[in-house]
Symmetry: C2
Subunit: 96 residues, 2 copies
C-alpha cells in the first residue's frame, strides 16, 4: 500500500522532470539566440546586472517550499550552464 | 533595433523563468510528500538508485541544446536542494 503511494508520487515527479527538461531546453534555445545577438553587436555575454535582475525576480515570485536562497542557487546553476552554451556557440562561430 | 530584439528575447526568458520557479516548487511539494511517506515507513531519504533512474531518464529525453551531461548536472543541483528540503522537514518532525 505504502509502496503504491510512493510509486504514484514518483510518477508525478517524473512528469514534472520531463516538463523541466523541455522548459530548460526551451530556455537554452532563447539564450542561444540572445548570444547570437550579442555576438552580432559585440556585447559581452556575461552580464552580472541582468543576472542580479533575474535573481531579484526569483525572490519576488518564489512562494516555496524551496527557500529563496535555494531557488536562487538552482538558477545560478542554470545561468552557468547557459553561459557555457553561448560560449560553445561563440567558439563554433570563430571556427567558421 | 538590436536592443529591442534583445529585450524581446529577455522577456521570453523571464516568462520561462516564472514557469521554472512554479514547476520547481511544485516538484518540491511532491518531494516533501515523498519524504513524509519515507519517514512514516522508516525508508532512507537518500536513494542513489532512484537518482540514477532519473538521470537515465534525463539522458533518454534530452533533445538539446543542452548537452546531456549539463542537463544532468542541473538535475543533480535540484536533487541536492530537494534532499535538503526533506531533511528540514525531518528535523521539524523530530522537534514536534
Amino acid at each position: 500500500m505504502s509502496e503504491q503511494k510512493l510509486d504514484q508520487l514518483r510518477q508525478k515527479v517524473d512528469e514534472i522532470n520531463l516538463q523541466l527538461i523541455e522548459l530548460l531546453n526551451e530556455r537554452g534555445k532563447v539564450v542561444q539566440e540572445i548570444g547570437k545577438e550579442k555576438i552580432k553587436h559585440g556585447i559581452n555575454r556575461f552580464d552580472p546586472e541582468r543576472e542580479r535582475e533575474v535573481l531579484n525576480m526569483v525572490a519576488d515570485y518564489n512562494k516555496g517550499p524551496f527557500e529563496t536562497s535555494t531557488m536562487q542557487h538552482m538558477f545560478k546553476t542554470i545561468f552557468q550552464a547557459s553561459l557555457e552554451l553561448q560560449e560553445d556557440d561563440h567558439r563554433k562561430a570563430l571556427l567558421v
